[in-house]
Amino acid sequence: MLEKIKNKLGHFPFYVTKRMGFSKLKYWLIRAGGILLAFLLAGITCTLLKPGSFGLFFSEMIRGCFDFSDISSIIDLLVTFSILLLISTNLTPTFKMRFWNIGAEGQILMGCMGAAAMAKFMPRDMSNASVLIICLLTSMILSTIWSLVPAIFKAFFNTNETLFTLMLNYIASILSALAISQWIKSGSQSFGVLFNGVFPSILDNTGTLVVIISLVIFAGLFVYITKGKYGYEVSVLGESIDTARYIGINPKKVMIRTSLISGVVFGVIGFMIVCGIHQSFSPTIVGGQGFTGVLIAWLGHFNPMEIALFSFLSAVMQQGTTTAASAVNISSTQFSAICTGVFFFIIIACEFFSRYQIKMHHKEKVKEAKEI
């Protein structure tokens, strides 16, 4: 049909143009509408699977995230939130530099692997604190290597960082599978729970410290991005390499320094995931948060505050739908993932339609063409 009209007219009946003069208020109203729609769709999906569960779904969702009598569920939510927040904020400087690092997943996983290896193989009579420090250093080193190698290749040989970082994800994933098969002789493929190298519990939860550390690093990154000289250099370099050289910035140096900082922070994240959250290790331990982080950084327009908002909503979506799904007896573990996917899909659609609009070519002519 479209093709026919196209042949008749010599072009498609509609075209996409940039939207101009869109007020900030309207933009945020549309976004808010999109977010509501996403939650509504999750509820509808749930009702389709289990008829009559619409009301229960939402009450369970709220209970799963905001039950202030159950401090551990609040901390769990904050852990998911702060990890997402830290990943996406940490990606922001590299993205601002137009260095499209989509390898956060692999970079964190390498850190996880390093921390797990040290926690497992350090002698059991070592103190927990010294094991933790060794874990942290190892994870920082491994993550930094994974983050720095593509940056060095980009700086000196101008290789494509998107492909490079993507491929390193797979290498990290396969390396950790290999490591587990080597470490676990029984063939059970299960790493088991760590004995040493475990975060101390605060409020009866090891996650509390994860939240605290994450927020402290986030504050540091916030200053680095918005107020620091390094952050300024990164923004200039991202906008134009010629401008950067014109004012005496060495692009190679800035690129490598930025990736180095981001690698170190990813190391800390990997360390916290293994020693603070799971106290275990598996090749899927990062659980796609690295990719979600990329999405959130982009949807938040590289603005730490917007990133915080989307990290929080995404955490609520993940945890709320998981709780709700178990309450209404949806057995599939994918339900939460689907809801989160729909959530991001709708936000991206909002983004597209608030930037662009679809216009029709001369209406009468299209009509004529249709009639024929």
Binding site: G10, H11, K18, M20, G21, V223, K227, G228, K229, Y230, Y232, E233, S235, V236, E239, S240, D242, T243, R245, Y246, I247, G248, I249, N250
Partner: protein
């Protein structure tokens, strides 16, 4: 006789009204100039006729019939062709391949018949590239073009490319040819050649529309002038009835003084010495060969030359941006008899220089700082008691931009690419002022107060039109962008100021403000290098003109004693050819 008519054409881009209710008509067989400043909507309007844009409202008539032009192909069907400011040629193709690109066999057959002037009797017509080349040649002979069908585009000069664009349009049988700023990139000789071509086309009954903002060209070539201002049609006048002043007034909307002021002050001492400078461009080709010249304080040295003669590389080499370079660049810091300061020098360096006997006291006695405490030395320096014996001579060869700044050399550079190099379009005014100074101050946190003050000062003093200081620079008009850039670069009170095409794309008022600022800098003793394309401006503003041709110096002439023609000759002089 009316041929094309615009009726109430309106074209809107987002919030910008590019054309508002424009109506006028074009006669058959005339040369019509569309005159207006940058941003007055003249290119947009003619793009509607050329099929690039479609009007939001209003009508276009060709030969009395209303037409809707959806694409350049539609335009060709109505006999209208357009040569854009940026040529649309396939670089890797030959001339003839570009000419026939997109033409069907039937179309070619018709073109052959038209050039032959009679319907072909043959049943089968060979439509090969070589056949087309023969016909194109035949057509070119008729107009007096030189045409080499097999020459690749990448081997062509700008002027040859432009000629090819015209040939392309004529080959397709246009009756009306639109030329968008055709002289912007041509030398004086090439402009003369182009005008001969235009006259030949007119003789042949073609209509030629020239979009321009250059008053002298309007006077020289056109029969009638349509003046546009801020998207609106102002008036149509017969060229012979008006003078340049009247046209300028119509174009700008108020009376303006077209004289450029050049203060006559004697040059002070040598400021920059360039010796045997050879620079390779980014692809590794020789862009500058054995350049030698000396730049003086209180002097504006103009650089003339056709585009890509090495102007860019020359400025980038001096500012430390060009990496691949040989030869010597020496900066002479006028320090003789001036007090030493802590600007880019610490106590240790000052002590070392004193040991070398570089300083004297006001009474002429030599300075020795041996045995003096840091406090005492600081006091002496801050009170301005320690003076230099002679000028500082600093070697800039192979220095990076940052090293040059760290040496305390105040070298400012207004690059050709304002938003791609001099400023960041997506940042606001304050952050753009910060570009030169963000390293200042201890610690890792930016300090924006001074940049804010500077931005405020420039906005006020240079009358920059901006909604506020946090507006994105890219949202400002070309003139305002340039005022910001020039304002920032002269705010550091430079010893050397280099400007590349500082008035390109600017309205007349902004251009004259820039000329004034440069002359003021000259009065303050700054050594200025001005790379320009408008020879009239170069002659009126500068003290000397260095003419570059193919990366070599074709001559350095006294601006007060030379003529446009002489410079034009030097620009097209080809030194290297005898060697080849």
């Amino acid at each position: 006789m009316e041929y094309i008519r615009f009726e109430n054409i309106t074209k809107i881009f987002g919030e910008t009204i590019a054309n508002s209710n424009v109506s006028f008509s074009i006669n058959k067989g005339e040369v019509l100039s569309i005159l207006g400043e940058n941003g007055s909507g003249k290119t947009t309007l003619l793009n509607v006729l050329g099929g690039i844009y479609q009007q939001d409202s209003g009508k276009v008539y060709v030969n009395g019939e209303e037409v809707v032009i959806h694409s350049p192909k539609d335009a060709y069907d109505h006999g209208i062709g357009m040569v854009h400011q940026h040529y649309k040629l396939v670089e890797a193709f030959s001339a003839i391949e570009n000419v026939v690109l997109g033409l069907s066999k039937q179309a070619l057959k018709k073109i052959y018949e038209r050039i032959d002037g009679e319907p072909t009797k043959k049943r089968f017509v060979r439509c090969s590239i070589s056949q087309s080349a023969q016909y194109a040649k035949k057509m070119c002979d008729h107009y007096g073009f030189a045409f080499d069908p097999n020459k690749k585009i990448y081997d062509m000069s700008v002027s040859e490319k432009q000629t090819l664009e015209i040939i392309k349009a004529l080959f397709r049988g246009v009756d009306t040819l639109i030329l968008d700023e055709p002289t912007a990139v041509l030398t004086i000789q090439e402009i003369k050649h182009l005008f001969t071509v235009v006259k030949n086309m007119k003789k042949d009954g073609k209509t030629v529309i020239i979009i321009t903002h250059k008053l002298n060209e309007v006077k020289e070539i056109s029969d009638r002038v349509v003046v546009m201002r801020k998207g609106e049609y102002i008036d149509t006048v017969n060229t012979k009835d008006v003078d340049e002043e009247t046209l300028a007034e119509m174009m700008v909307g108020k009376k303006i003084d077209l004289d450029i002021h050049r203060s006559d002050i004697p040059p002070s001492g040598e400021r920059l010495i360039v010796e045997h400078l050879t620079v390779n461009d980014r692809e590794g080709n020789v862009a500058l060969k054995d350049i030698n010249f000396t730049l003086f304080g209180s002097e504006i040295l103009g650089i003339a030359g056709v585009s890509n003669s090495g102007q860019r590389e020359l400025l980038e080499a001096i500012s430390g941006l060009a990496k691949d370079r040989e030869g010597n660049i020496t900066f002479i810091n006028p320090k003789e008899g001036k007090p030493v300061t802590f600007f880019h020098k610490d106590i240790k360096q000052i002590k070392a220089l004193a040991e070398q006997g570089k300083f004297h006291y006001e009474d002429g006695s030599p300075v020795s700082l041996k045995g003096k405490t840091i406090k005492e030395i600081t006091k002496l320096v801050n009170e301005g008691k320690i003076l230099f014996y002679e000028n500082e001579i600093i070697d800039l060869t192979n220095k990076e931009p940052l090293e040059i700044r760290n040496l305390g050399i105040k070298l400012s550079f207004v690059p050709e690419d304002r938003l791609g190099m001099g400023l960041v379009g997506n940042m606001n005014l304050v952050d753009n002022m910060l570009l030169r100074s963000y390293r200042k101050g201890k610690g890792r946190i930016l300090k924006k107060e001074k940049s804010k003050e500077l931005a405020e000062r420039i906005v006020e003093e240079l009358d920059v039109k901006t909604p506020n200081l946090s507006a994105r620079v890219a949202e400002l008009s070309g003139g305002n962008i340039q005022k910001l850039l020039v304002g920032r670069e002269i705010s550091s009170r430079p010893k050397i100021l280099m400007v590349a095409y500082p008035v390109r794309g600017l309205d007349i008022n902004s251009s004259y403000l820039i000329y004034k600022l440069l002359d003021e800098q000259k009065q303050k003793g700054t050594a200025i290098i001005y790379v320009g394309e408008d020879l009239d401006v170069l002659l009126a503003l500068t003290d000397r003109i260095l003419v570059l041709s193919g990366g070599e110096i074709a001559g350095i002439v006294d601006s007060r004693k030379t003529t446009k023609e002489k410079i034009g000759m030097l620009m097209s002089a080809k030194k290297g050819e005898s060697d080849a």
